[in-house]
């Protein structure tokens, strides 16, 4: 909270002001809510805001619970979440590992903040997670270099490390939203192939300083040690910018399905390019036109042509709370919260609407706002019990604006029929998502 927020909180004794239609409230007033409530606003007023707190407690007397009357469980070496959180898991589209891709989607609606825990980080796997012995893994750097080199993990671990927070997003995340009709799906199904973690590793440019670069090199091919030997071509520009060989994910070694023991990390770039199980980097003059770049991640345009080397994950946001499955129980005060990110830099602004885009108000951004990272946004909202359509729209520091759905469809088109939600087919969707709130409190995906 900034000092100006404190000041406004202390001096604001008037009722919380509306900043946009259908109940969006001044975020600054609420940031200082504790002070306000303790001062000018009494308990009755709080009750009128939340619609519940004024009711006397009557569900159970405050007594010693069983867990307060005996020592708790022995502490485990590697702790897992409470058994009461057993539903906070990824959804799997191919749980039996049938030939083809496996997707594991992050449950955004059951999380908060900006960092995705490693066990909940999304995965798209094209050949399962290999069981790699880190001592036997090797990374070769060759091709148009002056001195081809091969590195062990132990060797890489002695190099100067860099740490940064960055999101990863599958190029196919949100792909079902090319649908001509709204989908019966929640935020996990629609946007769950994006996550954000703190990554630590060695900058690729550090290794290229040692191999040297032949001036003819303009691209590099990154290849994994997994069964598909998945390979992608990356502009050499990215290697000299912020590409990293990631060894640690949120402080621990990478998860097996996220590339253990090392992956290529290309902040802001299409997830599939961030090659897992990285074993080989070959500098070349032009792209290899691998299956994944020549066919899969080349989205068809309405004129029949297709984009090639989309590279970037463009500016995007979506509301995680409320969202489908999180039914509002009663009218009152809620916090609209969500995630914004851009492959081209920091989020500069997120606007929120509760009336389907007729009026907007600027959301609070949780610090720190980092480049190419998830940014949590929040907006207080008083739901009066009527119909509402919640939307968020993000801007980035490069001036890019998340398109409305109409703008996006005009450029990128729309499917002719409703696609399956769990199979990634169409790619690079970043338009505004709308959640419709019914008077029953039920939340559904809608179009405006």
């Amino acid at each position: 909270m900034t000092s100006s927020d404190h000041r406004r909180g202390r001096t604001n004794s008037s009722p919380i002001e509306a900043v946009a239609g259908n109940g969006l409230l001044n975020r600054r007033a609420l940031l200082g809510r504790g002070v306000v409530l303790a001062g000018a606003m009494g308990a009755a007023r709080l009750g009128s805001l939340t619609g519940a707190a004024a009711e006397p407690l009557k569900d159970a007397p405050l007594t010693e619970a069983p867990w307060s009357l005996e020592p708790g469980a022995t502490i485990e070496p590697y702790e897992r979440p409470s058994r009461f959180e057993k539903n906070v898991v990824r959804t799997l589209n191919n749980p039996n590992g049938q030939p083809g891709a496996q997707g594991a989607r992050t449950p955004h609606h059951l999380m908060n903040g900006a960092i995705t825990p490693n066990g909940l980080h999304f995965v798209v796997s094209h050949g399962g997670a290999p069981d790699i012995d880190p001592d036997k893994h090797r990374l070769a750097v060759h091709g148009l270099v002056k001195r081809p080199l091969v590195f062990t993990l132990d060797a890489l671990a002695r190099y100067p490390m860099t740490t940064r927070v960055t999101f990863l997003e599958c190029g196919g995340n949100s792909g079902p939203l090319f649908s001509p009709q709204p989908l019966d799906a929640n935020v996990q199904a629609l946007h769950g192939l994006a996550s954000c973690a703190e990554w630590t590793g060695v900058k690729l440019s550090t290794l290229l300083e040692e191999t040297g670069i032949d001036p003819k090199a303009k691209w590099f091919i990154a290849e994994g040690a997994d069964a598909p030997h998945l390979a992608r071509s990356v502009p050499l520009k990215k290697a000299l910018d912020d590409a990293m060989i990631a060894l640690y994910q949120n402080g621990e070694r990478l998860m097996p399905a996220n590339g253990y023991p090392m992956r290529l990390l290309l902040p802001g770039y299409e997830g599939n390019m961030n090659t897992k199980y990285l074993r080989r980097i070959k500098l070349v003059e032009g792209p290899a036109m691998s299956f994944w770049e020549a066919k899969t991640y080349a989205p068809i345009l309405p004129n029949g042509k297709a984009y090639q080397f989309y590279l970037l994950q463009e500016v995007k946001s979506f509301i995680t709370q409320p969202s489908p499955g999180l039914t509002l129980k009663e009218p009152g005060l809620y916090e609209i919260s969500g995630i914004a990110y851009s492959g081209t830099g920091r989020i500069s602004k997120v606007m929120v609407s509760a009336d389907g885009g007729r009026s907007w108000a600027e959301a609070a951004l949780a610090e720190p706002v980092l480049s190419k990272a998830f940014t949590r946004f929040r907006m207080p909202w008083r739901w009066e019990g009527g119909a509402a359509i919640l939307q968020s729209r993000a801007w980035d520091e490069a001036g890019n604006v998340q398109p409305t759905r109409a703008q996006f469809v005009a450029q990128r088109g729309e499917l002719k029929s409703v696609p399956p939600v769990t199979v990634v087919l169409n790619h690079h969707f970043n338009a505004v998502t709308s959640w419709g709130v019914a008077s029953s409190g039920e939340v559904k995906h809608v179009y405006t």
């Binding site: 002056k146 590195f151 300083e209 169409n426």
Partner: protein
């Protein structure tokens, strides 16, 4: 290209040794990698055919291998539709009339024929990648190209002929962000 890069390496290494040069900036913990050592791993194929190994195959040879090692997932004649497998059909050349990714086929979408060899060799069969001999990969490539009428039944596919197979949709692409490249 292979020979070329090896020559560059050799010349460069020689000049380093002569000058007693060191790579002073980093820890220098990488081990030198010579051409023979990387050969076992370097399976990259480029669109101009760079990297294609010796060997060859015909559609008829490929048909036999396909029936044995591929049809269980890709269906007889590569038509797909096998239950429980996420594999797109390998045939079909309908014009693209929809943005649905399911429209994409080899003959109506893939820009380069070399991608076929590269992908089959590195990733297929799905359960046993890198078990096909180069001749088998060439034969399967030939079979699939012939199924799609992109080569004739009697054509032979090898390192010289494959890059010359021009795919119909070669020019059907727009680079999204040229400034990033």
């Amino acid at each position: 290209m292979f020979t070329h890069s090896w020559l560059i390496t050799a010349v460069w290494l020689a000049s380093c040794l002569a000058a007693g040069a060191a790579f002073a900036e980093g820890p220098n913990l990488g081990k030198p990698l010579d051409a023979a050592a990387i050969a076992a791993w370097d399976i990259s194929i480029e669109p101009d055919g760079a990297g294609l190994p010796p060997g060859e195959g015909t559609p008829a040879q490929g048909a036999r291998i396909f029936a044995d090692k591929c049809a269980q997932c890709h269906g007889p004649d590569g038509k797909g539709g096998v239950a429980g497998v996420f594999s797109a059909p390998l045939v079909g050349s309908d014009p693209i009339t929809d943005i649905a990714a399911s429209m994409k086929r080899i003959a109506n979408f893939w820009p380069y024929s070399t991608t076929l060899f590269d992908y089959i060799r590195r990733s297929m069969p799905w359960q046993q990648p890198m078990t096909l001999a180069n001749d088998e990969v060439y034969a399967l490539t030939a079979y699939i190209l012939a199924l799609n009428k992109l080569i004739a039944e009697n054509d032979t596919i090898n390192a010289q002929t494959l890059p010359k197979v021009r795919m119909p949709n070669r020019d059907g692409f727009i680079v999204r962000f040229p400034d990033a490249m």
